[in-house]
Symmetry: C2
C-alpha cells in the first residue's frame, strides 16, 4: 500500500492561487466564509480520509459488495462514511442555509470530494449520490418533500440514489418505460425496473430515497414525456415508523472495479403498492435532471482525476524506492559493477511519471475551474457575468467529464507499467486503480454522448458564443504568460492552436450547413480529444504562469522547486500531449468518410 494518495500543496495552490477561490468567496452568497475556514474544512476532510478511508481502500475491493437474500452486503466502513460524513457536513455543505446546508462554494466541495475519492473511490459515492438526490429535492421539490426527506438525507441517516437506466435503455433515456399512474390521493403508482443504481441498498441505512424518472400514463413519447419522482424504499409515517414501499432489491452487479460501491438492480411496484411523489411539474423530469447535470458531470471528472492522482502517488513512491538497471554511460553501455539506479532515474520512467503528473494535476485544475464557473454562474452579482460563466460552464462540462476519465485511464495504465510485473499483481495497488478508473468513461453519459454534446450542442449554442467566450479567456492567459520569456514560446503555440480550432470548426460546419448532421458528428470523439487537449494546454499554461509569477514575486507559500516543477510539467504537456492535436486536426479535416453506415457496403465481414 502506498503512503500518499494526493498532494494537499497542489490542491491548495490550484484552489487559491490559480483559480482564486477568494474572488468566489467575495460573492454575497458566500459572505459568511473565508479562506481560512475553507482550509480548515479541507484539512478536516484530509484527516478523516487518512484515518477512515484510505486504510480500507484495498479491503473494500477484496470484500466486494454482494447480493444475498434480497439484501446487499457492503463493507462496514460504508456506515462510517455515511454517519461521520453527515456529522462533518460533507453531505450538506453545498446546500443553502435554508435547506440545512452550509452554503460553501462548489469549488470547495469539489476539492473536498476530490480528497475523499483519492483516498477511497469506492466509498465517496455513497454520500455523493445521496447529496445529489437531495439536491434535486431541494431545487425542485415542494416544501412537503423537503421537510420529509432532506434532514435525514443530509445527516447521512438515509441514502439517496438516481434511478435513470433501464435494462432496455442505457444511454437512450427517451426509451425508458417505467410507468407512473396517478391516484386520487395525489401520489403515483410506480412500476418498472432500474439497473446500475449505485448505492441503491445496503444494511447501513434504514431507508433509501430514490429519485426516479418514469412516464405518467399518456405522457408524450420520448424525452418530453419524462417526469421525476421521489420513491422511498420505505414510506416514513408520522410516528417515525415505516411502511414498506414495494421496492425490491433484485441483485447487485459484480464489476471490474469500484467493487466496494454497490451497483444494484431495483424492481418497483411488483405488488402494485409502490408510491412515487412527483417532483415539480409533470413531464419536466429530464429538464430537472439536466439542470443538475453540470454538477454531476464535474463530480465524475473529479472522481477520475482523484484516481489518476492516487495512482500517480503510488507509482512515484515505487519509482523512488525500486533499484533496477543502470543509466547509460557515454559509450552507450551499462556498467554492471555499478550499483543499480533507482528506476526514477531512467528517462522512460520519468516520461511515464510526468504523463501521470500532467494528467492528474491538470484534471484537478480543470475540475476546480469548472466548479468556479458553476459558483459564479449562480452567485455573481452581475447577471451578464452569471450568463457568461454559465455558457463557459456549459461548454466545459462535457470536457471535465471526459478528459480526466479517458486520459486518467491512460495515465493509470502507465502507472501499472512503471511497476513492471509487480504492477499486474494484487500485491500492489495499481491494478485496483486500473480497474476502478475504467468506469468513468461510462458514468453519467459515455464519452460518445459527451462528444455529441460538445460538438452537436455546446459548440453551436448561441451561434458559437461559448467558444468565443472561452477563446477570450484563453487569450487573456496567453497575454499574462507572454510577460515571461520562458513561457512565450508556449503561449504562442497555444495561440496558434486557438486559430486551428477555427479552421477545424469551419471545415466541420460545412456538413452541418448542408444538413448532413451524421457526417458533422461522425468524428465527434476525435473532436473531443482535440478540443479538450487544447483546453488542457490552456489549463497548464495558466498553472505555469501562476507558478512563474510566484517565483518572480518571491512568494514563499510553496518552495521554489514546487513552482519550478509546475513550469516543467507544462513544458512536458506541450511537447508530448498538445502535439497530438496536430494529427487530430489532420484527421478531422480529412474528407474521407469511413465510419458512417452505407447500406451497400458491408464493413464487418
Amino acid at each position: 500500500m502506498a503512503k500518499q494518495y494526493m498532494d494537499m500543496n497542489t490542491l491548495k495552490f490550484l484552489l487559491h492561487n490559480v483559480h482564486d477561490l477568494q474572488s468566489v468567496l467575495e460573492q454575497e452568497y458566500f459572505s459568511e466564509h473565508d479562506k481560512d475556514g475553507m482550509n480548515i474544512f479541507l484539512d478536516s476532510i484530509k484527516d478523516f480520509s487518512d484515518k477512515e478511508l484510505f486504510p480500507y481502500f484495498q479491503e473494500v475491493d477484496e470484500q466486494a459488495a454482494y447480493y444475498k437474500d434480497g439484501k446487499i452486503i457492503v463493507h462496514p466502513q460504508v456506515e462510517v462514511m455515511m454517519r461521520k460524513g453527515g456529522e462533518m457536513g460533507l453531505l450538506a455543505s453545498s446546500f443553502k442555509y435554508e435547506d440545512g446546508g452550509l452554503q460553501i462554494p462548489s469549488m470547495v466541495s469539489t476539492a473536498g470530494g476530490y480528497i475523499l475519492d483519492a483516498a477511497n473511490n469506492h466509498l465517496g459515492g455513497y454520500i455523493g449520490l445521496t447529496s445529489g438526490a437531495a439536491e434535486l429535492i431541494a431545487h425542485f421539490g415542494d416544501d412537503g418533500l423537503k421537510e420529509k426527506y432532506l434532514p435525514k438525507m443530509l445527516d447521512g441517516t438515509w441514502g439517496g440514489t438516481m434511478c435513470l437506466t433501464e435494462p432496455q435503455a442505457g444511454s437512450s433515456l427517451s426509451d425508458i418505460t417505467t410507468s407512473a399512474t396517478p391516484t386520487e390521493d395525489g401520489f403515483y403508482k410506480i412500476s418498472g425496473q432500474k439497473i446500475f443504481i449505485s448505492g441503491g441498498d445496503h444494511e447501513y441505512s434504514d431507508n433509501f430515497i430514490h429519485l426516479l424518472i418514469g412516464r405518467i400514463d399518456g405522457a408524450p413519447e420520448g424525452t418530453k414525456g419524462i417526469s421525476l419522482f421521489v420513491v422511498p424504499k420505505n414510506r416514513p409515517n408520522e410516528d417515525g415508523t415505516f411502511t414498506p414501499n414495494d421496492v425490491i432489491t433484485a441483485g447487485d452487479f459484480q464489476k471490474l472495479g469500484q467493487r466496494g460501491y454497490c451497483t444494484t438492480h431495483l424492481v418497483f411496484g411488483e405488488k402494485e403498492d409502490c408510491r412515487g411523489y412527483l417532483v415539480g411539474e409533470a413531464n419536466k423530469g429530464l429538464k430537472y435532471m439536466f439542470l443538475m447535470m453540470n454538477g454531476a458531470r464535474i463530480a465524475v471528472g473529479r472522481g477520475a482525476a482523484s484516481i489518476a492522482m492516487a495512482a500517480y502517488q503510488a507509482s512515484l513512491e515505487y519509482a523512488n524506492e525500486r533499484p533496477q538497471g543502470r543509466r547509460l554511460n557515454s559509450e552507450g553501455k551499462k556498467d554492471a559493477n555499478q550499483k543499480p539506479s533507482l528506476i526514477i532515474e531512467h528517462a522512460d520512467v520519468r516520461r511515464m511519471l510526468l504523463l501521470q503528473k500532467v494528467v492528474a494535476e491538470g484534471s484537478l485544475s480543470l475540475a476546480l475551474l469548472t466548479s468556479r464557473y458553476l459558483d459564479l454562474s449562480r452567485t455573481h452579482s452581475d447577471e451578464n457575468e452569471r450568463d457568461r460563466y454559465h455558457l463557459l460552464l456549459e461548454l466545459l462540462t462535457p470536457i471535465v467529464k471526459t478528459y480526466p476519465s479517458e486520459m486518467g485511464a491512460v495515465s493509470v495504465s502507465n502507472g501499472v507499467q512503471i511497476l513492471g510485473g509487480y504492477g499486474f499483481t494484487m500485491d500492489f495497488v495499481l491494478q485496483q486503480y486500473y480497474r476502478d478508473i475504467r468506469i468513468f468513461t461510462l458514468y453519467e453519459g459515455t464519452t460518445g454522448i459527451q462528444s455529441l454534446d460538445l460538438l452537436g450542442r455546446k459548440i453551436p449554442m448561441q451561434r458559437g458564443k461559448a467558444v468565443e467566450l472561452l477563446a477570450m479567456e484563453v487569450m487573456q492567459s496567453i497575454q499574462r504568460a507572454m510577460k515571461f520569456d520562458e513561457l512565450k514560446p508556449y503561449a504562442n503555440q497555444l495561440g496558434a492552436k486557438l486559430q486551428d480550432i477555427q479552421k477545424v470548426l469551419g471545415h466541420l460546419s460545412k456538413y452541418a450547413k448542408a444538413g448532413d448532421y451524421e457526417r458533422y458528428t461522425a468524428d465527434a470523439n476525435l473532436f473531443m480529444e482535440y478540443f479538450s487537449n487544447i483546453v488542457m494546454a490552456w489549463i497548464w499554461l495558466d498553472m505555469a504562469e501562476e507558478a512563474k509569477s510566484s517565483l518572480v514575486k518571491g512568494d514563499k507559500t510553496y518552495t521554489e522547486e514546487f513552482y519550478e516543477s509546475k513550469v516543467h510539467a507544462m513544458k512536458f504537456f506541450f511537447k508530448y500531449e498538445l502535439s497530438k492535436t496536430t494529427y487530430l486536426s489532420e484527421v478531422l479535416m480529412n474528407e474521407e468518410s469511413l465510419t458512417i453506415k452505407n447500406e451497400e457496403k458491408k464493413v464487418f465481414v
Copy 2:
C-alpha cells in the same frame, strides 16, 4: 458469453494469400508438408479449442489458480490442455523429426497458437512454455538431457518453465544472484529464488522441468556470467521413480488477469540438495536465451493479437444485437417514434469496431509475417537469403512483441466501451479480456525494454542494414499497390512516411554520434510507437493489395464483401492511425529535453 472468438477466414487468407505459406513449405526442411495438411492441422486445433478451451474461458478466471499447502491448485482443464495437446502434437509440432517433432513451419505453429489463445488465453501458456523450455534443451542441450527430458515434455506429461526473474532483478537480468556451485559429479548445486514463473507447478503434471539462469561460482559480473541449467522439480531415476530435487513452491501471485494461468514463486536449494544440469557451455546462458527470444517474443505478440481478436468478436456480436438510440435525420434530430437502431449503425460505434478490427487483424498479420521470416531465416536454401530474413526478423521482433500488446490493450478498452455500462460488469466477457491483455506489455521484456532494443540495437545493427532491407520490402509492396488506382493514394502516403523515418533517424543519430546515448534513447518508446505504426500501415497496404488483386482476378476463395472489407479497413488504418505518426515525428524531432534526470532540477515535487 460471445459465440465467436476468431475468424478462420481471415487467418487462412493471411496465412496463404498474403504471407504465402506455400513458399515456405517449398523449402527442403518442410518438404513432407503441404497446404492441405496444414489446413487440416489448424482445423483440428479450432475444433479442439471450440470444445475444450473456449467453453471454459470465464470459468478459469472465476476459479483462479491459487496456492495451498505448498501446492498450486489450477482448473482441471489444464490437464486436458496438457494431455490432449500432447496427443495432438501441439507441443512437438515445430520440433525437428529427430527430436520427436513434426517439423511444421513456425507460421503454422503461430497460427495454431493463435487459435488456442483466442479461445482461452489462460490455458495456452501451459503448453507454450513447456514447448519453449524443451526447445532450449533441443537446441543447446547434450544428448543425455535430450533423451531424459524431451519425450515427456513433448507429450505433455511434464511441464516446462523459464526461470529468469528474481525479486531484486526484474528487467535487469545482469543482477540475478541465483548461484550454481559445481560438484565433482558433474551437476551443479543450485540456490536461489525465482518469481513470476508461469506454469511453475500444479497437480496435473508429476514433474516440472525448469530452464533456469544462474551464476556459476566465480563467474564474471553482469550478463557475461550467466549460465543456463536444467533444474527438474523431481530427478527422474532409471527405474521411472523420482527423487525430489529440493525445489519448493512458495506461492502463487494473484493477478489482475490471466488468473487461470498460475504465476509461481519458486525456491531452489533451501536444503542444499537442488541439482542443476548445465545446458551447453558455462556463461553462455543469456546468449542461448536470446537465440530463442525471437520466437518467444513473436508468441507474446501473437497472444495479445488473439485477445484483441476475441474481444473484437465479442463487441461486434453485441453491437449487432443491441438496439439503442437512433440515427440522426436531416434536421440533426432523432425521431422518438422510430424503432431504436442497432448500435452498430452509429458512426462512433463503427469507428471503435474498426479500430478493434485493424488492430486485431493487423497484429495477426504481423505475427504471421515475422514467423515467416523466422522460418526462412532457418530453412532458406540460400545463405544470403537466410541472413536477410534473419535481419528482418531481428528488426521486427521488438515490434511484434510491442504493437499487439500496446494497441491491443487500447482496442480492447474500446471493446469495453461499446458495451456501455454492461462492459464494466462481470456478466459480459469484455472486462476479462481487458484484464488479461494488460500483462502483454510487461511479458518478455517490457515496452521500455523492447523500445531500447529497437532504437538502441536493431536500428544501428550492421550500420542500419535491417532498416534498409525493410524499406526495400515496403517499396515492393508500394509498387504492387500502385497498380490499383484505388490504392495509389495510400501507397504514396506510405512512401512519404518511409522518407520521414530517415529524417527522424537522422535527427536522433546526432545524439548518438555525440556520445549522448541517454538522449538518443530517451524517447525510444515514442520511436517504437512511430515506427511500428508505419510498419502496420505497410502490413495493411499489403493486405489490401492482396484483397484487391483477388477481386480483380475474380478469385472466389472468399466473398467479394470479405475482400472489400479488407480494403476498407486499410483506409481506416491510414486515416485514423497512420496519421498519428505526424505528431510522433514532431515530438521526436523536438529538441527540448524534459525527461532526462538533471541533478539540479527536481521535477517530482
